[in-house]
Symmetry: D2
């Protein structure tokens, strides 16, 4: 059950980094939703390796093929299978890692769990697994766009190491983010972020950072109270992205520094719509969307694979040294942006369909 | 599906604050695990209202009754139903809130979602719902203790508003935490935390804070990679607790400020056991436990219900004012500690049983 | 996961025969559905022991209490917990069965599975477990009746040992079935059935039979093709009732004797509604309802517990003899009727809500 | 959620008859199980069209490709994706059926459910969907064979229209069944069955029949009591196979004609093993396997698509006539045998892994 996500709109991803390919099966997508391969490809291109000179140079077109579930541009209601073939895999770069564990990577824990692992390219723990998420996210987006044309999900890189963007949640646009290769919403910070990534890469080191994400136009009423609160499932979704270490909604950890009177978001009527004057809640109250913008922050650690000699151990239980090889991102954040957006669409789509069971919207 | 959690060890909680009672059904508990009502009651007493003068004065014994699934102190493998009767409910204090929404509470969003809500005492959004979690957590703990006698989960209050504890993860003990009513691990901070809570309460205001939690003695190999990473399910679990706004594992958001070389945890052999010299990973790598301590931080917002006049709206779509009544915690953190521990036990127990399907431990 | 049923409208039953009681939690019921304890009690009274002189004389009022999820006669959208206390349990009658296995009962297999069992009264394998199903079925019925007021589910005893009813599917009414204590739809067969049951009971023996069930007014489009076909989930539901051995939909095993030309149900237009001239399909084609009556047959074996000396073995692996004691039904069919109906309502309600995710009805 | 089956060993099939191909993703398979493409291909070849002159002449090699989850002949514990490309599809034969509904096929109900369907070749309702089941069944078989080398599942055609096999459950062997193209276990009936199928085919008509299936070497303790009884999930599995109308375990509907004394299976000790002298229970008591052979019968209706002119309606709500075209089986039973076996392996594997959560075997 490790590779499935969602209750009603349920996706199952598959594939290893250096196997034949990767893909996803979506079970539970409603019928008659307009979906094309172009919708999917657009998002995959934003996630693709080799898209700029600050990401891994592995050359993959990541060409998506819809294998089932769509006819003449419309969903059939049957499972949608999407696959991408792997092309540029060079397993020889991983020979050493077959035996010796990269510090802070999943090499050791996969062996501890399964007693076996596809070591080449990180196997199942590779970021290539996220292709299926991004492809499925594009379908989830299509479902929601049909129901709520104004809904949008926008994520961006808000911090790379010591460089922080300075930008207002409300002012960020998708086009501004795509205008720079690091995908930050603050053009004045882009150059410094890019320079920091290049410097880390050139020294064999790596950097982490923070991605912010806003959902606009979400109707009130999404999210199941108690265990599957909207923010709890968003936390689950985001923390399932490789390299994430922290998640916050609305005020996040800063809520700890506030009193109730400072933190509470006063309600007011805007015509016949209930609004709040502030948004410390981040658009979610009691686990249910309230119609305000949903605000999230996700913390990413620096890439584990370094081109620097490090202390470690090997499969035979011996102390060892390892210096990484292969092609890796020195900073995953620019490519994490479409993954964060996809996970948000997947969560929201599942909750939207769940709400259709619960009560007519 | 809103009120169930877990895949194999699956719990379903039920009950409204001012209904007949609250409870939980556990489906999927292995047979022959020693469990008693005392094991459950011990944890419920730590969560109980009225336990000290910094928590809500509602008087509830919260006496747990095991209705099924246990015979002569051993689990039968059949569903374990546990219930607690509500006793001291005074719905009249909530008359006004039936019509007028408390800012930042779940009143408005429940109405938006369901078109109806049990307004008295917060209904299903009341913290009384967490009784079922704590009871089930005690059973999950018994399952894990049978398999791993040295395993322990310890949570404590690390921050209340501006008062922060200063304590090492490794040095914290369960008994130290229970030695003060605010449940902090730093005795030198306890008095200041208690004073801050009392001051907030006396002025009708409320405070938030941070709970830390450490899991010791967890075997390597728990957690499913990809979507149900151990940290992702812990994030889900913790963010489903009322009033939470943020979750971090290991280095958390601070990972963003580190380079890979600083962040990576070097491996070394300690006899035949793989260990790490640092623990920025927080005991989880690639979503799977690595045998080191699991380290978490959870951010809580201040209680929404205030005894202060606030701007809001009502069910009829009119602007309104509301000053809270009823009995509430001015700071939920002291009572959140056993809830955080319970959610950790529930997550770990589910992943332990899932791993038994996947491979013999 | 043994005791839960349904995907969206999901029930979890709990309770042992001689424990404190039995009950059910329903998670996923829509809000604003009218439900009362009387709706539930009416069905429980049809399932109750002691209701007539051809069923077990155990005296239980089986009084249902709604513990949560309903306010002022309307569902809240939150979990609905319903419980019934056990009253008239006499465990001493089971002393011998604690050690010696009843042939064809679940005594041995529970021990083989769990290494422990609640032997008194059959424990979890007792028919008392079905109280939760019948109570939940009454709620499922309320959900469907709100959406489709003309929908009805009618089951009856069609055969008891060698006595068979002779009655047309279309002519059967709920009131006719309730007019006789054996719950057959053919008044001319009732007396012979009752006599057969009494004779078996008096000789310490038992009888099986067949229950038929028809669903009328089901809209087209319910049922998920492939694995969760409507007939496949109905088969699952019915075969989960204790003592069932066979399930058939529409033509059933007789389909084997027909050619395609004989078996196919020709379509025709009745106004703007698609109808079929025959109904060998039993209202389901390709796993999806077609709007015709859904026709099912369920085969029940004779009760396993006999008041006759039989060859068997005991817990210590020794050959043994056993003559049953305690109070048992000599024929379960009269009381199985409301259980069959409940399982049908549960299946249909779950598929109805699933279809609301899939496409607006 | 329509296309997934299993709780722990969970499969999701995808694909339409005339799309790019069909396939399956298996999530939850344990690691270190030996699996090869040959294991899968052997079963697919038994299900393949064109394998003999009594099945559909569509020419498909049905060549399985394992896309992920297996490395060097061993499972990785990660999802196993298997796909088969469609080759010989001739959609033109279906032009008429795009508009006009075949009686007793899924054409109308798919339209009623989804408002759209892939009409060519039956789309998702085509028997090609079962390729994924058979492929996954081969993997499930490998898991069980590793744990229980003597376990076997053997199915055969027991009846075609009026021709019935006469054969003892215990005497049937896999090789005997494969010795004739109709896959019956009674060589003396094979010729008559084949003749009946050819005659029906030549007249444009079709035939149904009965498949029997026996599971040998199943350990006691599999199956979850209450809803997921082993026989209930087997019923679900078998009734999800296209064209099935009835399911029976052990005595089946004949149980209705027996008294308890006749039906009960007396226990006796065979060394230290608990055995029964008869097997009316069909190897399952209280929903749990008892170690005896599991005996099932599955009833199939005649193929719906006929080359004979029939009365029907069309998408526009008009009465119409239709004579089938395309390539179809006049009797699905010979090819249903490996599908029945696959569904049995899938059920048993899921219950085996579930039992590993519940208690060590």
């Amino acid at each position: 059950m490790s590779s499935s996500f969602g209750q009603v709109f349920r996706i199952s991803t598959w594939g290893e980094s250096h196997g034949t390919g990767v893909g996803v099966v979506i079970d539970g997508c409603p019928s008659l939703v307009p979906v094309t391969e172009e919708d999917i490809q657009r998002e995959l291109d934003r996630r693709r390796p080799g898209q700029s000179d600050i990401v891994t140079p592995r050359r993959e077109e990541d060409r998506a093929e819809i294998l089932s579930g769509v006819l003449d541009g419309k969903t059939l209601g049957t499972p949608i299978a999407i696959s991408v073939r792997n092309k540029d895999h060079r397993s020889s770069a991983y020979d050493e890692m077959a035996r010796t564990y990269r510090p802070s990577h999943a090499d050791y824990t996969y062996d501890a769990k399964y007693g076996i692992r596809a070591w080449a390219g990180g196997g199942r723990a590779s970021a290539r697994e996220t292709i299926g998420r991004v492809a499925a996210g594009a379908v989830a987006r299509a479902v929601l766009k049909q129901a709520f044309p104004d809904m949008e999900v926008v994520a961006w890189v808000d911090q790379v190491h010591h460089v922080k963007a300075s930008v207002d949640w409300g002012a960020v646009t998708a086009s501004a983010i795509e205008s720079n290769i690091v995908r930050t919403a603050d053009p004045s910070a882009a150059e410094a972020m890019i320079a920091a990534i290049k410097e880390a890469r050139d020294s064999g080191n790596s950097l982490g950072g923070v991605v912010k994400c806003v959902v606009r136009g979400c109707p009130p009423g999404l999210g199941d109270p108690v265990f599957d609160k909207l923010d709890a499932t968003l936390a689950h979704a985001m923390m399932s992205i490789p390299a994430t270490k922290a998640f916050a909604v609305g005020s996040g950890f800063e809520a700890a520094d506030m009193t109730g009177l400072e933190h509470n978001d006063p309600f007011y009527m805007q015509g016949c719509r209930v609004r709040t004057t502030t948004n410390h809640s981040g658009g979610i109250q009691g686990g249910i969307s309230n119609g305000e913008d949903i605000l999230m922050r996700i913390g990413f650690k620096p890439t584990a694979t370094l081109m620097i000699d490090q202390q470690t151990v090997n499969r035979d239980g011996e102390d060892a040294r390892l210096k990484g090889r292969g092609r890796h991102d020195a900073c995953v954040l620019p490519r994490a942006v479409p993954i964060v957006e996809a996970m948000a669409w997947l969560c929201l789509c599942d909750h939207y369909l769940r709400q259709r069971c619960q009560r007519a919207l």
